[in-house]
């Protein structure tokens, strides 16, 4: 209980977002370009944090599908901004040792001669500690 609890609090703290403000309108999910790729949908992130089911969140593949495009953040009418919650969950994962979503030895496979530095830098920031 206390561990789960502290993780939910951690997510609230890192994200600076208050899930209690959510009115469950779904505008985040209606705006999300990655919606179909996600197993836990943006609007559900709020209830997972509220229900303190952080385990499911951190195991969710949604973490790696969010583009950080800020569409949900821009349009959320209640300032809940699920994108921040998703990022906080992602932080919880990548801050643990050995949990990087992108391993250095995968990279040669993934790039081509035109790949801009920006792509690698951004992916590193999002996927690794």
């Amino acid at each position: 209980m206390s561990i789960v609890n502290s993780q939910a609090d951690k997510i609230k703290e890192i994200s600076g977002s208050n899930p209690l403000k959510c009115m469950k309108c779904g505008k985040c999910s209606a705006s999300c370009p990655s919606f179909n790729e996600m197993d836990i949908k943006p609007h559900q992130f709020v209830s997972y944090v509220q229900n303190e089911d952080i385990q499911s969140l951190v195991e969710s593949k949604s973490l790696w599908k969010c583009l950080s495009c800020f569409a949900c953040i821009e349009r959320c009418p209640r300032n809940v901004q699920p994108g921040k919650l998703i990022d906080a969950a992602r932080q919880i994962v990548v801050r643990q040792k050995g949990q990087d979503y992108l391993k250095a030895d995968e990279i040669p496979e993934l790039i081509d001669p035109e790949t801009p530095q920006q792509l690698l830098v951004s992916a590193f920031r999002r996927y690794r500690r």
Binding site: C25, G26, F35, Q44, P77
Partner: protein, 662 residues
């Protein structure tokens, strides 16, 4: 020395559950001046009041402290009770141990301690109270109604029917307001104009009603019963008495490009215009910004074609000054601007419209003569999407925090009307919640779903995407199916939030009526005085006080009228005796108090003063207690401390401070 009685109310368990009322009464007896203390379950009840009255008589009380709810609730009750028992009503003070104590604290000991301190402060104050006598002021038997929509019309009619004179001031060229723009009304689907027009005619011909259209309130002074109001009657450029309303001027006017306010800018009007066919008065105005004659000096066609010779280019604004006993605010609402909601493509596509625009499109007198068609290409739509809560229920800074209340119902109405008249049109409504409290309201919404096959989807829309072929791709979510939805639509209708008319803040300031952060006027009490402003003599009618539909507006309009009539029926009003009073011995006649007085209540007189045996002629301040409203600005400004406020004197407030900090 006062003989004070302290009466501690349990308020059922509202107070007694958190405050040990017996202890408060016990402690009261230790306070100086207190000769009697008791507690009772309901002090405000008949029995409770009798207890106070009995104690006043038996113990020869000179002052009373009631420890109970807020003085805003029952101060008058207890003052009247005391007066009936023979002491001056202003010898009663309330210690607010409910709203300011028992309701906000949980710990009994802590709350009891605080209640004792609040009781002590009130006792300390009463020790210094002096009997005060209210003055009298007259009541002007005439009411002013600001706003000529359905709220203003109904209020004016009700007041007029009771036999009092009423003036309506309406900003636009015609009365009728928002309701005149509606096509049909829920939940009966009767035609809006058919039920409104008779009311407009009735109010116009009523002998007790006088209507100033194209006019605005410019200045308000005075107070309850005796307001003085300046009304600016804007130059209509048309002689109201001569005009026959034939309409030839409008047919011939060559300036035809101004967006029509009445049709929500969906089409245009001429520079000389009446807003709509049933306008009252049926006299056009010249929009001087659009008129060629006013812009270039050339033209003058309307003057030439007017058989009645009613065109008056040189007409000027007129200021009318009138006295009123009561003022009713009925300034209504508008839809919010959708500049902050470009994700719905309102500014990018002509086929994304607001609900009020749809009303005009559905209306036979509207820009499309009542045919449902796309404004971009005039084609009949096959798929229509409605989006709810656009700008309502938002806690970001883009929209409004409140629910606009009317949208769920009018959307069900629109959906039903469209499905009824155009059965081949599919209608989809994206909603967050469907809110239908009200008589026959939920049944109405269910009819839309069950009988008319309107497709309600729980979920919001994220973006409306105009397509190259002119269609609109709506990207929304179905929260029940947990699916993102891409729906191609021909028209999208946005249920934009409503907001109080933008002039209301200016008007509230003139009236010194309170207004909340959303620009709705505040009522004196949310439940018990919902149609009165906290400012005496100001009443609230319609959406200016909060979102409402037509039946609610009409009920509130009637209620506001009753309150105004209740005031007008009085010949005299008691004035607040808590007014400023100078100590002539201390006053040096410096005029600083007169400079800060917002009411001009302070003047100076040269007077012979007996200053400790020395007779001198001095200039001293004098307060007109009929004008003084008792704010106390002068008392603090006075450099010699000569000015004091009766009922809230320096000594009284200092005694309260002392009691609290003891």
């Amino acid at each position: 020395m006062q003989r004070i009685g302290v009466f501690v109310c349990h308020c059922g368990s509202n107070i007694a559950a958190t405050v040990d009322v017996k202890k408060v009464a016990e402690w009261a007896l230790k306070e100086p001046g207190v000769v009697h203390a008791e507690d009772y379950p309901y002090m405000c009840s008949e029995a409770g009041q009798s207890k106070i009255q009995a104690a006043i008589k038996e113990k020869n009380l000179t002052g009373v402290v009631v420890c109970s709810c807020s003085p805003r609730m029952h101060e008058t009750t207890f003052r009247e009770a005391a007066e009936r028992a023979g002491i001056n009503p202003y010898m009663v003070e309330i210690a607010n141990i409910r709203e300011h104590c028992s309701w906000i604290h949980k710990d009994m000991e802590e709350a009891t301690k605080k209640a004792v301190i609040l009781m002590r402060a009130a006792v300390a104050k009463v020790n210094l109270n002096t009997p005060l006598k209210p003055g009298e002021s007259r009541v002007t038997k005439r009411a002013l109604v600001i706003g000529g929509g359905i709220a203003g019309i109904q209020t004016a009619l009700d007041i007029a029917e009771a036999g009092y004179k009423v003036d309506i001031v309406e900003k636009t060229p015609s009365i009728g307001g928002r309701m005149s723009q509606l096509d049909k009304t829920f939940p009966t689907l009767d035609c809006s104009a058919c039920i409104l027009t008779p009311k407009m005619v009735e109010v116009n011909k009523h002998e007790n009603v006088n209507i100033y259209t194209y006019s605005e309130v410019e200045k308000v002074s005075g107070f309850v019963g005796d307001f003085t109001v300046d009304i600016r009657k804007k130059a209509r450029s048309v002689d109201m008495d001569k005009c026959t309303g034939c309409g030839v001027c409008q047919e011939k006017c060559p300036s035809k490009k101004t967006p029509s306010e009445f049709n929500r800018a969906l089409n245009t009007r001429t520079a000389i215009y009446t807003p709509f066919a049933q306008a009252i008065p049926n006299v056009p105005v010249i929009d001087r910004e659009a008129c060629i004659k006013f812009k270039t000096g050339k033209c003058g066609i309307c003057e030439k074609v007017c058989q009645a010779g009613a065109i008056k280019y040189d007409q000027e604004d007129e200021i009318i000054t009138e006295k009123y006993g009561a003022i009713v605010v009925a300034t209504g609402f508008d839809m919010i601007k959708l500049d902050n909601y470009d994700e719905y493509a309102y500014s990018q596509s002509k086929d994304v419209i607001t609900s009020l625009e749809l009303e005009r499109i559905m209306n036979a007198a509207g820009p499309t003569k009542g045919h449902l068609e796309r404004l971009s290409d005039g084609k009949a739509p096959k798929e229509m999407v409605f989006i709810q809560c656009v700008g309502s229920r938002c806690s970001d800074d883009r929209g409004k925090s409140y629910c606009s209340k009317i949208c769920c119902m009018y959307t069900a109405k629109h959906a039903m009307l469209i499905r009824d008249k155009y059965p081949d049109v599919n209608v989809t409504v994206f909603y967050i919640d469907v809110r239908t409290p009200g008589k026959n309201f939920d049944e109405f919404y269910r009819r839309a779903v069950e009988d008319y096959g309107v497709n309600y989807i729980k979920g919001q829309v994220g973006k409306v995407i105009p397509q190259p072929d002119g269609k609109l791709l709506v990207r929304g979510v179905d929260l029940i199916d947990n699916k993102q939805i891409l729906k191609e639509a021909d028209m999208v209708v946005l249920a934009a939030a409503i907001e109080p008319n933008k002039d209301v803040r200016k008007i509230a300031t003139m009236l010194t009526a309170s207004i909340d952060t959303n620009n709705f006027l505040t009522e004196a009490h949310a439940k018990l005085r919902p149609v009165e402003s906290p400012t005496a003599g100001i009443f609230l009618s319609g959406v200016c006080q909060g979102p409402k539909d037509i039946p609610e507006t009409v009920s509130q309009a009637g209620a506001a009228a009753v309150k105004a009539i209740g005031l007008l029926a009085k010949d005299k009003l008691m004035t607040n005796p808590c007014t400023a009073k100078p100590d002539e011995l201390m006053c040096n006649g410096c005029s600083q108090c007169a400079n800060v007085c917002p009411y001009g209540a302070i003047s100076y007189e040269v007077k012979e003063i007996n200053d400790h045996g020395v007779r001198e002629t001095r200039r001293v301040a004098s307060v007109n207690s009929a004008l003084c409203q008792g704010c106390g600005a002068c008392t603090v400004t006075c450099p010699s401390g000569a000015m004091d406020l009766q009922g809230f004197s320096n000594r009284q407030i200092l005694a309260e401070v002392d009691a609290i900090c003891r």
